[in-house]
Point group: C2
Chain length 129, copies 2
DNA sequence: CAGTATCCTTCAGGATACTG
DNA sequence: CAGTATCCTGAAGGATACTG
């Protein structure tokens, strides 16, 4: 195995790979975003606010976020039960990053749109082949 | 449909949702990262450097990136053919964002790790239930 | 209310073989 | 070399029904 044939793992190829699973799994950004915007919410409220997600998947993602320390779950043993979800301090530390992303989006999404139209108009990769 | 029952789309719930498909689709960050680090590369080189990705999927992702204007593909009609991939200016504009992400990772990945161990050690969500 | 438990479908992505 | 063409599998996620 020499350096010209060695295959590399995606983690080696990309130092930010590990974070992606944590922060950018499906539904995690809508969940974190609404928790950050609207504060503490019960399960049903979150369900309504996060969009067209099923209860099963919402639960799965919330468990993952709780496990990773980005969200705090509080169970109140009442009847009927009350469960509240809140973004943690660690979760809140993502806010500047999300803002950065929103800025990039505002600045460059139009360029992406134009690139797509050119590409589609020209009819595929690299005209002439 | 009143405000207490209205269901919302994930795009409404999360302004950054549209960018995620563009920038954080699977394999896009390793591809962009290596193109940014090592400069212009031919298909096979990229294939070696990006990690354990198949040629088919690499082609798919490269097409998407080209279409979105993040990558430039140059076809040289020789025999054998030579194709070179390069990150575009638009693609390069993501560098600060990726750096931000790398910083967050360096600062907070350990916290995530600890949170996971606590969660797993405690045996699931919210002890007591 | 806040979830589970099942069943089911889809489809991204891998393996393999082939081509201009 | 730089891909495409096929086939195939597993795992994510939706629909639905049920429970403490």
């Amino acid at each position: 195995m020499n350096s010209s044939t060695a295959r590399v793992t995606s983690e080696q190829a990309c130092p930010i790979a590990p974070v992606l699973d944590i922060v950018f799994s499906r539904w995690t950004t809508p969940i974190l975003w609404t928790l950050n915007e609207y504060g503490v919410q019960r399960f049903v409220q979150l369900h309504r606010n996060v969009g067209t997600i099923t209860a099963k998947v919402l639960t799965q993602r919330l468990r993952q976020l709780e496990r990773d320390g980005l969200v705090v779950r509080t169970y109140h043993p009442e009847i009927p039960p009350r469960v509240e979800y809140e973004i943690s301090e660690l979760g809140r530390s993502l806010a500047p990053l999300f803002a950065h992303l929103a800025d990039w989006s505002a600045d460059n999404l139009p360029r992406v749109e134009r690139a797509r139209q050119e590409f589609d108009g020209a009819g595929g990769p690299t005209v002439g082949h």
